[in-house]
């Protein structure tokens, strides 16, 4: 009799080993190349694979050449504020949706999904036109300012954040708030003092996903920022464009800056991956 495979095993062991080996290489080789490029002297990056020496100095000089600090700061401010507001609004919305019944409640939830399927590129131009009309009408500086970008990212983060909060708040028993309400607290106080503290883990996940909307965006930031408010994504893109056709493209420093702007995001995901796997599957089917 042959040994029966364990119930959970999906692939024969040799096949599994080959799959893991090949896929690991598939992931590791480009990442290793990225790290190698970031310590390759600018004169050699993109020309030869093995650098003549490790140019650790890339990680110091890039701050000046790429204007990295301003990009990172802008990204933190814009993505940070947008995600914070998005989560606050999502908690309020999610609370109402899970605790009350009202006309259009279900359609509102489903319209959030519908909104997510709209291609963002098709909204960019009309949004630009709307913003420039606001600018002309109110005589304020809106395109290129923080508030314009924050408002945009917060809106695009809102559907997912709301769905995450609905899923989380639903599992918090209403009995706790009712106790507070009986003691004379208002609904809002009950939400702030009783529900919100219990929902912190869900809020953190929603915050992370919302933050990444702003951090990773290039499309809106490419049009809605100026020299002073460029997020790091656009900062790198603009810098890279400037290198093309230059006598000595500063690719080593560029890739150093790329590593620095990717690292916080990759670490965030690693930290929250238990919510990602499964959460995304449940979230994506349901959100």
């Amino acid at each position: 009799m042959t040994r029966r495979p364990s119930a959970q095993e999906m692939l024969p062991r040799p096949v599994r080993a080959v799959v893991i080996g090949v896929l690991s290489l598939f992931v590791i080789v480009p990442i290793a190349y990225l790290l190698l490029l970031s310590v390759t002297p600018d004169a050699e990056a993109g020309k030869q694979l093995v650098p003549s020496h490790f140019a650790w100095g890339n990680y110091f000089s890039m701050w000046g050449t790429v204007n990295l600090l301003s990009g990172l700061l802008n990204s933190v401010i814009v993505a940070g504020l947008a995600s914070f507001i998005a989560v606050v609004l999502a908690v309020g919305g999610g609370y109402v949706i899970t605790r009350y019944t009202f006309l259009g409640r279900r359609s509102y939830l489903y319209s959030l999904i519908g909104l997510q399927t709209i291609p963002q590129v098709m909204l960019l131009l009309p949004l630009f036109v709307v913003y420039s009309s606001v600018q002309t009408a109110l005589h304020i500086h809106f395109i290129g300012s923080y508030p314009g970008l924050i408002l945009t990212y917060l809106t695009f983060a809102l559907p997912l954040a709301t769905w995450l909060m609905v899923a989380y708040l639903r599992d918090i028993p209403a009995g706790l708030e009712e106790a507070a309400l009986t003691d004379g607290a208002t609904r809002l106080t009950a939400l702030r003092r009783v529900v919100a503290p219990l929902a912190v883990p869900g809020m953190v996940v929603a915050l992370v996903f919302s933050f990444l909307v702003g951090w990773n965006d290039v499309l809106f930031a490419s049009v809605l920022t100026n020299n002073g408010t460029r997020t790091v994504a656009v900062q790198l893109q603009v810098f890279e464009q400037a290198q093309q056709g230059g006598a000595l493209p500063l690719y080593g420093q560029l890739m150093g800056a790329a590593v620095v702007s990717a690292l916080p995001v990759v670490l965030l995901y690693m930290f929250f991956q238990r919510y990602l796997i499964g959460g995304l599957a449940a979230g994506a089917t349901k959100a």
Partner: protein, 334 residues
């Protein structure tokens, strides 16, 4: 690192069986019926969010439809409401004319469709195999799972920069192909017709993880006793896959493929950062073409018309997705 091997949060399976609003919400509804609720119904808590969605998504959507019927450029932008009305002229130009950079919207559409379909076909088997390979536990599984996540977690603009470097004339790809004696190592990947393949390759690398995550999440929802029963009946690996895993996964796989097709089609960042503007026409996907038409050629009307065409096309998979989500939630409640 907080236990990367930790299973999905408990209650997840139960939650997804409940549907988005769950049964508990319904029972609470009785308790908080108007008149009984001591604190009233603070529906206004939803208004700020709804206002944002209205101003940032719904209004621009309507404005976009209107602009697509105008001859609008950078000069008439300030007074866009009174720009000359040209009816469907932008649409005919988008579909049949070519822009001065040589790529018409129709051509871009074909590039986009080819790109989305091809990458989706490529990432599906990779994602499925990856999920199957780390479903059962073994030493080092947490590490492999973390590794598999990396391409998904990389910001696309970083992946695009890396892709650009790798496909430069003296980059990793040419050097590698040369070392393996496949090519002479002097291929131009970032200009001309081969740019399409460079784009497909980089996008495949960056997006297979998504299929992997979805499938792995789906695998965790399949009851273990199904496999145990199959094992008692003497089923082998192949039979378990063909008779249990794939039939159980059909819905989530379809959803994963649908979402990733949408994502590929709407991917602006990757080609934009990888090729710059104007891009080679073989890699001039529709989102990029719209951006160039709008913000480099300043043909706002034409750009809007191309956007509306994109939206109409996206309505088809979008509707299917929407239906799938609705079906998913009503089915589980029944």
């Amino acid at each position: 690192m907080p236990a990367p091997t930790a299973p999905a949060p408990a209650g997840k399976a139960e939650r997804s069986r409940q549907g988005p609003l769950g049964d508990r919400a319904r029972s609470q509804r009785h308790r908080t019926r108007p008149g009984q609720a001591p604190g009233g119904r603070p529906l206004w808590l939803m208004w700020p969010g709804q206002l944002c969605l209205l101003v940032i998504i719904a209004v621009p959507l309507a404005v976009g439809v209107y602009i697509s019927l105008l001859d609008l450029n950078q000069y008439s932008l300030r007074t866009w409401v009174s720009a000359p009305f040209v009816a469907l002229q932008n649409y005919t130009e988008a579909l049949f004319g070519g822009n001065i950079l040589g790529t018409s919207a129709l051509q871009s559409l074909l590039v986009s469709i080819g790109f989305s379909v091809l990458t989706t076909i490529l990432i599906t088997p990779i994602g499925i195999l990856a999920a199957l390979s780390v479903h059962s536990s073994f030493r080092g599984r947490g590490l492999v799972r973390t590794l598999y996540l990396v391409p998904y977690t990389m910001p696309i603009f970083v992946t695009a920069l890396l892709g650009r470097m790798a496909f430069l004339n003296g980059g990793l790809v040419n050097q590698g192909l040369h070392a393996l004696h496949i090519t002479s190592g002097g291929t131009y990947w970032l200009v001309g017709p081969k740019s399409f393949w460079a784009l497909v390759a980089v996008d495949t690398w960056s997006s297979w993880s998504f299929v992997y995550i979805m499938i792995l999440g789906g695998l965790q929802l399949i009851p273990t006793d199904l496999y145990e029963a199959a094992e008692l009946d003497g089923a082998g690996y192949w039979q378990k896959l063909a008779r249990i895993t794939f039939p159980q996964m059909r819905q989530i796989l379809a959803l994963a493929l649908l979402i990733s097709t949408l994502n590929h089609f709407n991917n602006f960042t990757l080609p934009f950062v990888m090729f710059g503007t104007p891009p080679p026409s073989a890699a001039d996907v529709l989102p990029l073409n719209i951006w160039v038409t709008s913000f480099q050629l300043f043909r706002f009307g034409l750009g809007a018309a191309m956007s509306i065409i994109t939206l109409v096309l996206m309505l088809i998979p979008g509707y299917v997705y929407f239906r799938a989500v609705r079906l998913g939630t009503t089915e589980v409640k029944a």
